[in-house]
Every structure is written in C-alpha cells, then in structure tokens.
Amino acid sequence: MKLLTCPMNGPRNIDEFQSFGPVRAKLDPDGTADTDWSRHLFRAENRKGIVVEWWRHVPSNYFFLAERDLVSNEIIRTFDASELRDLA
C-alpha cells in the first residue's frame, strides 16, 4: 500500500485518490491560436523528472497538488491549491 499525504485528511492509501495529471498553464480563451490549444489539450508534461500535478481525495472531493518524481514515484510534497499562484 502506497500512502499519499492529503493536506486536509493526512496520510491515506493512494487508492483513495484520483490523479488529474500535471498542472498546465491557463490559456486566454480569446487570444489563443488553434495550435496552442491543441498543445494545451494534448501535450501534458511527461519528462522523466519531478512534476506538479492535481490530485483529488475522492471521499471528501478535495482537490490539491502534489510534487512527484515520475521515475522513482516518490511523493516529494503535497500542498493546498492556494499555493499554486506562488509557483506561477
């Protein structure tokens, strides 16, 4: 059993969570070309390394972020979405 530490619910079995994939930059809905939309939709981060991604704790429907290593599967840290704007 792999544990994921939810910022709200503490350490829980990773089975209780749903991954929503790497964080993507928000696009301007009016000023974005089609090619940038296709990039935004279809090319998520997949490099070998650390990604910041959205997760959801399913029973409590709480969305948060996690930094995870895509090679070792180590979860480096988890944090509330309010911190996201500091990363940007």
Binding site: M1, Q18, G21, R43, A44
Partner: protein, 413 residues
C-alpha cells in the same frame, strides 16, 4: 523418412548456428538507423531488407533484444476496433499474423481462437453493436452475441444472472488470436540479420545531430553513426527519444501490469475480456493463464509491480471464473506504455525530414508488429506515407482529427 531424419540428426552439417548473430562493430554510417530492437523495429528491418532491398540497416537496442514491451505484452491479436481507419489497419495486421510463421520460417505459434469481449451494461452492448457493424463493413469477423451465445462460446464463465455484473452479451471476434511474442521478435531478427541487417544490442542512443530539418547522425554510447533515415520505435521510451531530437510527442507514460498463473490443463480456448472489470484472460500454450492488463492510475516511468494491481486483476479474474480462486500466481510484471490522447498510434512523418515515427503504441502495440513494420518500411523506402497510415499522422492533434479508440481498448484509465 525415419532414415532421413536419423541421417540429419547425426550429420556434421547439422545447422546449429544461432538465429541472431552477436553484436558487430558499429559502422560509421547506415542508410537506415532503427532505434529500438523490439518487435516493431525488427519487423521494419525485415521488411526493408526483404521487400525494399535496403540492407544497410542498423537496429540499435539499449538493452537486449525484445526485452521491453515486446516481452511484456499479453499477446492479444485482434482488429475489432471502432474507427474504420483503425479497423482497416489492424485487419491487415491480423492477416499478416495468419501467415507469419511461413513468412519467417519460424513458428510463432499463432493461435486464432477468437476473442470474446463481455458486456455487463446496456451501454457496452450498444457500443458492441456499433463495433460489430463497422467490423463487418470492413470485412472482419465481428458479431454481437447474446447471453446464450456467450454461454456456448465459454461455458465456464460465471454469468452472474441477476447480479450486479450480469453478463448481458458479448462481442465475438472470430479473427482474434494470440501468438508467442518472443518468437515474433526472434523470427524477424533472424530473417533480417540473414539479409544483412545489423542488430546492435547494448547500444543506447544518447542524442541526435540535427542540422536544419535533418538528422545527420545518431550519438550512441558506442560512438557516432551517420544515417540516411531514422526510425523511432522504442515503445515506452518514445517520448524520451523523440525529445532528444527536439520532437515533443503527445504522449504520457503509464505502467501496464499483468500477471500469470501456474500452468493448468487446457480449459480456456477463447480470449476473454471484460470492459467493466478492466480484466482480460488468455490461456497460453503452456497452460498458464495470462491475466491483464491493468494500467496504473497515474503517470510513471517505473516497471515495478504493485499489490493493488494484483488484487484488482485477481478480483476480476475470479469474478469471471470463480474456480480460479485457489490457483497460484507465478509472476507479475509491468511495462511502460506510451499512451496517446486518442488511444491510436502515431505513425509516419515527424517535423524532421528524415526522422520517422512508429510511436504511441500504448497498450495495443503487439498485434501491430507485422503491419507497422511493413508499412513503416514502405514509408521509409518510398519517402512518403502510404494512405493506410495517413490517419495516424502526428499532425492529427493539431487539426483535431483524432481517432478515438478509447472504448475499443481493453486497458484504459
């Protein structure tokens, strides 16, 4: 005959040469460099040498021959997809498998025993009707069967009448089958090397020399190799390898796990697959029951196995065949699958003029080993993409012309 056999057995000329020669010295240049010594790369090499007369070919393999996803897949061969483009392509793949042992002079143990996919919901039945009609239209053997039909095809199934997972019917694909994955790769490797293709194991590609819109050379741990044309066919490493050439593919990597039970007497003659349970079973010619294929629920570049997936696959298998509950597992393993957004592969041109892609094979690549190799060889030899491959172009994502095969792919997220 017995006398001839005896003479053959005692003869000094008995052909004991290995099928695949040892890795030779790397030459400074080749007409075609194929990155990835798995089934797809070797199949392409074979077709280049045999049908297009291109023999200056090097297959570069980071590890050992066919040790990646060629060795890790669950050997399902079928063409019951949902897009006409997909069905046309995979149909050719099944037909090539039907005569592959003759083509390779190597027994790939192709067993066309049919695939039965089960529906537990009305929604799945509706999608089966659609797949069956498209399949028939494209000339494949695909039909919807009712509960009685399922019982006749697979009498040992737990129909779960009245239960939450009652089997309402199935999609019967008589063209479906299985073959020995290692033999497919070895057969292609043996044929290709007999015609002059060089197979370089333990040869890792570390970068590309790109000048303008062309790859001049491939940099490896054994030196630099100049190349006329380059093919990327590296399975789970496709994203990584293409990125070294500056090509960013719409791929996300997920591990796919499978497992196998101890050998049993033959009892399961069809391939059985359940959409709702995300579980499929096939009994190998050794009697082991291969149980696949669980995709991990999040991106990862690790081939570790997990207890969670073991439990999930065992639960599905025991639900379908309750008598499996006491059977022991022999092995569990994983491969890295390069998943595309629409569950269809990416074949054809790249933004670089002489770099070709045979990528995005996700959880569905083994069945396409012969046809992808054949058509990519044609592409490389002619310098242009044949019609059958055009729908699979990388540009389809920019033009939003996706080929959605999610519903027809057994392992999904």
């Amino acid at each position: 005959m017995p006398l001839r056999l005896l003479k053959y057995g005692l003869s000094r000329d008995y052909p004991v040469s290995g099928d695949i020669p040892a890795t030779p010295e790397l030459k400074p240049a080749y007409d075609v460099v194929i990155i990835g010594g798995g089934g797809h790369g070797l199949s392409c090499a074979h077709h280049l040498a045999k049908y297009h007369g291109i023999k200056s070919v090097a297959v570069l393999e980071k590890g050992y021959l066919a040790g990646g996803n060629t060795a890790r897949n669950t050997t399902t061969i079928r063409s019951n997809y949902i897009t006409p483009e997909g069905v046309a392509f995979y149909k050719e793949g099944v037909e090539l498998f039907e005569r592959l042992s003759q083509e390779l002079d190597f027994n790939v143990m192709f067993s066309q025993r049919g695939q039965l996919t089960l529906a537990h919901t009305e929604a799945t039945m509706r999608s089966f009707h659609m797949r069956a009609e498209i399949g028939k239209h494209m000339g494949t053997r695909t039909e919807v069967v009712d509960q009685k039909g399922v019982e006749e095809l697979c009498p040992l199934l737990n129909m779960d009448y009245g239960g939450p997972l009652e089997i309402l019917g199935g999609l019967w694909h008589a063209d479906g089958g299985t073959a020995r994955h290692d033999a497919v790769a070895w057969g292609y490797a043996a044929q290709a090397s007999r015609r002059g293709v060089e197979i370089h194991q333990r040869t890792e590609v570390q970068g590309f020399e790109v000048v303008g819109d062309r790859v001049q050379a491939v940099k490896t741990n054994r030196g630099r190799v100049a190349c006329g044309q380059v093919l990327i066919a590296t399975g789970g490493m496709n994203y990584d390898v293409a990125l070294m050439a500056g090509v960013e593919l719409p791929i996300r990597c997920y591990p796919l796990q499978a497992m196998v039970t101890q050998p049993l007497k033959p009892w399961l003659d069809t391939l059985v697959s359940s959409v709702s349970l995300h579980t499929y079973l096939v009994q190998s010619s050794r009697g082991e029951v291969v149980i696949g294929g669980g995709s991990d629920p999040y991106q990862l570049y690790s081939t570790r196995s997990t207890l969670d997936m073991k439990e999930h696959l065992a639960e599905g298998a025991v639900h379908l065949f309750p008598f499996l509950q006491g059977v022991r597992l022999l092995r569990q393993w994983a491969g890295i699958t390069d998943m595309t957004p629409d569950y269809s592969p990416i074949m054809g041109a790249s933004p670089l003029a002489n770099l070709w892609l045979d990528c995005g094979w996700g959880t569905w690549g083994f069945k396409a080993t012969p046809v992808a190799g054949k058509r990519m060889a044609q592409t490389i030899a002619d310098g242009r993409v044949p019609d059958i491959l055009k729908p699979f172009a990388l540009e389809r994502f920019e033009t939003f012309q996706l080929l959605n095969e999610m519903g027809a792919t057994a392992a999904s997220h």
